[in-house]
C-alpha cells in the first residue's frame, strides 16, 4: 500500500464540496493510505468540545475528540476521485474506537488513515475507514474504525446479504435524558469541524431526505462515553451502533449500565419507543 503524506489535516468543508460532486467509476478501494504528521490539538477547541460533551476539561483528549482531529484524514480518502463510493449521502453505521493510552494536549501526533473491507450490506455497500493516531515514539495510541454505508450502491458480483433479524427494542428504565436543542448539530459542528449539511438546519437536511436536522452520530456516542465518566480508565474500547438518527430538537432517553466487562449504553426515543443507538465501553484488562 502506498502511503501519501499530506502537509496538513484537510478542512472538512472543502472535502464535503468535493464529496458532493462527481460520479464513481471504480469498484475497488484505492491501494493507498494517507498520513499527516505534526498534528497538535488546539486548547480552546478542546475546551469547547469538553464543555459541549460534558467531559471534564482535563489536558487529556477525550477519545471522541481524537476522532474529530483524525476524521478529516479519512474523509480526504473518501473524496478521492478513485474512491468507489460517494461521500455525501453515506450513512454512519457503526464506530469502534480503542484507546490504548490517553493522548494529551501538547503532544505531537501522527494520523494515519486507510479504507478497508469494501463489502455488501443489505441496503447497499459498506466500507471501514481505519484511522490510527500515533505518539512521538510512533506507537499507536488510538485506533478508530468507522463503518459507512452507501445506500443503494451495488458492486458488480456482490451477493446481497439478507437483512439480519434485529431483536425488537424494549425500552429499559432510563438513567438519564439528554436535551438536544435545534442548534445541537451546529454546536457540534463548531467543535468538531464536521459541518455536514444534514446536521446544520432543517432546510439543508431536507435536501438529503431528512425531515429535520439530525444530531451527529459521534456527538451522541461521545456523550454516552462522557456519561460513563472516569470509570472508563486510561485504556478502553468504545463502540457505537447507530440504529436511527436523532432528529433535532430532541430529548432522547438514555440508560448507562455497569456490568462485569465495563458499561453498556442505550439511547432511545421514549415517545416512540425507538432505539437511536447503543454500544459499549469495555475496559482494557489491567496489568
Amino acid at each position: 500500500m502506498t502511503v501519501v503524506t499530506l502537509p496538513v489535516v484537510p478542512g472538512l468543508g472543502g472535502l464535503y464540496l468535493r464529496g458532493a460532486v462527481g460520479g464513481r467509476s471504480r469498484t475497488t478501494l484505492p491501494d493507498l493510505g494517507y498520513r499527516v504528521a505534526g498534528v497538535r490539538a488546539d486548547p480552546d477547541r478542546l475546551t469547547a468540545y469538553q464543555h459541549l460533551l460534558g467531559e471534564p476539561a482535563t489536558d487529556q483528549l477525550p477519545a471522541g475528540f481524537v476522532h474529530v482531529l483524525a476524521f478529516p484524514v479519512a474523509t480526504a480518502l473518501m473524496t478521492r476521485p478513485d474512491f468507489p463510493l460517494r461521500l455525501l449521502g453515506m450513512v454512519h453505521l457503526a464506530n469502534r474506537i480503542t484507546q490504548h493510552r490517553p493522548v494529551h494536549l501538547g503532544e505531537e501526533l501522527e494520523m494515519r488513515a486507510r479504507a478497508d473491507d469494501l463489502r455488501p450490506h443489505h441496503r447497499g455497500t459498506q466500507v471501514d475507514l481505519v484511522t490510527t493516531v500515533h505518539g512521538a515514539d510512533g506507537e499507536e495510541a488510538w485506533r478508530g474504525v468507522s463503518t459507512y454505508l452507501a445506500p443503494g450502491v451495488r458492486l458488480p458480483g456482490d451477493d446481497r446479504p439478507d437483512r439480519p433479524d434485529r431483536a425488537e427494542f424494549r425500552a429499559p428504565s432510563p438513567t438519564g435524558r439528554w436535551r438536544y436543542d435545534a442548534d445541537r448539530g451546529r454546536r457540534y459542528a463548531a467543535v468538531s469541524g464536521d459541518a455536514n449539511p444534514i446536521h446544520l438546519s432543517a432546510l439543508s437536511a431536507r435536501a438529503f431526505g431528512f425531515p429535520r436536522a439530525i444530531a451527529h452520530g459521534m456527538d451522541t456516542a461521545a456523550r454516552a462515553l462522557a456519561d460513563v465518566g472516569a470509570a472508563r480508565g486510561d485504556a478502553f474500547t468504545w463502540t457505537a451502533e447507530f440504529a436511527a438518527p436523532v432528529l433535532l430538537p430532541s430529548s432522547p432517553s438514555v440508560r448507562i449500565e455497569r456490568d462485569p466487562g465495563g458499561f453498556g449504553y442505550r439511547v432511545w426515543d421514549a415517545g416512540r419507543g425507538k432505539l437511536h443507538l447503543h454500544g459499549r465501553v469495555d475496559l482494557a484488562p489491567s496489568g
Binding site: 428504565s173 438513567t175 438519564g176 436535551r179 456519561d227 440508560r255 448507562i256 449500565e257 458499561f263 421514549a270
Partner: protein, 439 residues
C-alpha cells in the same frame, strides 16, 4: 517550650435553640425577598431570642442552594446586617438540600475541637427570587467584548452576537449529569421499590396532621419568628385528608411501565424560607445563662452512583445511617426520634423499605441481616417537609432545632436520655445523617 493545656476529651457541642421564619409558598409572602433578606430575618430573631446583640460568636455558617454570584458572601453579609458583633466571622457552605445539616455538623465539630466556643448554623433558599442569567452564547459574546481593547477586536466580538442568544436562562431543576428532574429520579426509585400510592399519601397526611398539631400546641412558639405577615408555614393544610390527597393526579413517573403514584400532595412544594440553629460549648452556654437542649453526637455523609443507575438519586441516607449507627454501636431500636427529610413521601418509604430488605442490606450495605424496621410513631413526629415545605438549604436547620427541642422535652418528662436520628437526602446522590442526644 510553652506549656499548652491539651484537652484529653473533646468538648461537647450543644444545641441551645433555633429560629426560623415561617416557610412560604413559592411566589407567596416572600416573593420579593432575597436570600439575604430571609436569612438576616432568621438570624435577627435568633439574636433577639437569646440576647446575642453585639455578641462576637465563633462563627456563622450557612448557605443557599440557588444563589446569585453577587451573594458570594451571603452569610457574612447577613451577619453584617444583624445585631451580632461585626467581628463575628462567617462562611458560606453549599451541599444541595443537605446544606443546613452539614452546617450544623461543621459548627459542632469546631466547637468539639475547641476552635470556637459558639456558632450559628443555618440555611436559606428562595424559589421565587431566583437569579436569571444570560444564555451561554450571549455570555461568551459579552466576555469577549469585555476582553477586547481595540475597535476591530470589539467589532469582531460583537459580530458573534445572535438574536437567539437573548433568551434568559432560569436555574434548572434537572440533575446536571442525567438531565432528569429530582421527581423523575425519585419516580424510578419509587417503581424499583414498589412504593404504593396509599403509603405515600398516608405519609403526607401524617406530616400535615402532625405539623398542624405542633403549631396548635404552641411547640413552634420559641422556634419561629413571624415575617412579612406570615405567622405559620404557608404550605400547611391542616384539613387535608386521604380522600383529598387521593384525588390528585400523578405528576412524576407517568411514562414508566408501573402505575404513577407521585402527586403534588406527596411531593414537597417549591418553598421560600430560612432557618438558624444556635450551638455552643457547655461553658459558653453557662456563661450566657442558656440551657442546652441536645448534644451533637456524630454525623456521617454518604454518596451513591445514580449516574449509572446503581442506586436511586436520593438513596444516599440509606447508606449513611447504617454506617453512623455501626460507628456508635447503635441500632434503629435505640432511637427515640427518627427524622427523615420528606423530599417526597416515597423517599421516606423507599429508605425504610431498603432497610428492611435483606438483599439490599446484605449485598449493598454489607450487613449480616436487615438493618430493621422503623416504628412509624417515632418518625417525623412533628411533621416534616411535605407539610412545612422545603426551602432547600433551610430544611436542615428546621429539623435540627425541632428535634433538639423535642429531645429536651422528652428528657424533662421521663428523666431519661433521648436520642434522635436525622437524615437528609440531597441532589448529586448525597445524603447526611446525624445523631443528637438530649443534653
Amino acid at each position: 517550650m510553652p506549656e499548652t493545656a491539651a484537652p484529653t476529651t473533646p468538648t461537647r457541642a450543644v444545641i441551645l435553640g433555633g429560629n426560623r421564619i415561617p416557610f412560604a409558598r413559592a411566589g407567596g409572602a416572600y416573593a420579593r425577598c432575597s436570600n439575604q433578606d430571609m436569612f438576616t430575618a432568621a438570624l435577627n430573631g435568633l439574636v433577639a431570642r437569646f440576647g446575642l446583640q453585639g455578641e462576637r460568636l465563633g462563627e456563622v455558617v450557612a448557605g443557599a442552594v440557588i444563589k446569585h454570584s453577587r451573594d458570594f458572601n451571603l452569610t457574612r453579609e447577613s451577619v453584617l446586617g444583624s445585631p451580632l458583633s461585626a467581628q463575628t466571622p462567617a462562611y458560606d457552605l453549599q451541599q444541595a438540600c443537605a446544606t443546613g445539616l452539614e452546617a450544623v455538623v461543621g459548627v459542632a465539630n469546631k466547637i468539639r475541637l475547641g476552635q470556637i466556643d459558639s456558632g450559628v448554623a443555618g440555611g436559606v433558599d428562595s424559589s421565587s427570587d431566583v437569579p436569571v442569567t444570560v444564555s451561554e452564547g450571549l455570555r461568551h459574546t459579552l466576555l469577549a467584548l469585555h476582553r477586547a481593547t481595540t475597535l476591530p477586536q470589539r467589532l469582531k466580538a460583537a459580530s458573534a452576537f445572535r438574536p437567539g442568544d437573548l433568551a434568559p436562562a432560569f436555574p434548572g431543576v434537572a440533575e446536571p449529569r442525567t438531565g432528569l428532574s429530582m421527581g423523575e429520579h425519585q419516580a424510578l426509585t419509587t417503581a424499583q421499590w414498589g412504593i404504593g400510592r396509599q403509603e405515600q399519601d398516608e405519609i403526607a397526611l401524617a406530616s400535615h396532621q402532625r405539623l398542624a398539631a405542633a403549631w396548635d400546641s404552641g411547640f413552634f412558639d420559641d422556634l419561629v419568628t413571624s415575617y412579612r405577615g406570615l405567622q405559620r408555614d404557608q404550605n400547611l393544610r391542616p384539613d387535608t385528608s386521604l380522600e383529598k390527597l387521593g384525588a390528585l393526579k400523578p405528576v412524576f413517573g407517568t411514562r414508566l411501565d408501573t402505575p404513577a403514584t407521585m402527586t403534588a400532595g406527596n411531593s414537597t412544594p417549591l418553598t421560600d424560607g430560612a432557618s438558624s440553629v444556635l450551638l455552643g460549648s457547655d461553658d459558653w452556654a453557662t456563661a450566657h445563662g442558656l440551657t442546652p437542649l441536645a448534644v451533637v453526637i456524630d454525623a456521617e455523609t454518604a454518596a451513591v452512583d445514580f449516574v449509572h443507575g446503581e442506586d436511586g438519586l436520593l438513596m444516599a441516607p440509606a447508606y449513611a445511617v447504617p454506617r453512623l449507627l455501626a460507628r456508635q454501636g447503635l441500632t434503629l431500636d435505640d432511637l427515640d426520634l427518627i427524622e427523615i427529610h420528606e423530599a417526597f413521601a416515597a423517599t421516606v418509604a423507599g429508605t425504610l423499605a431498603a432497610w428492611s430488605d435483606k438483599e439490599f442490606c446484605v449485598d449493598r450495605l454489607a450487613l449480616d441481616d436487615v438493618l430493621g424496621t422503623v416504628d412509624r410513631a417515632k418518625l417525623n413526629v412533628h411533621g416534616s417537609s411535605l407539610a412545612a415545605g422545603h426551602p432547600f438549604a433551610a430544611t436542615g436547620g428546621r429539623i435540627v432545632a425541632t428535634a433538639a427541642k423535642e429531645l429536651a422535652r422528652r428528657k424533662a418528662e421521663t428523666g431519661r436520655t433521648a436520642r434522635a436520628l436525622i437524615s437528609v437526602c440531597a441532589a448529586g446522590g448525597l445524603g447526611v445523617a446525624a445523631i443528637l442526644e438530649s443534653a
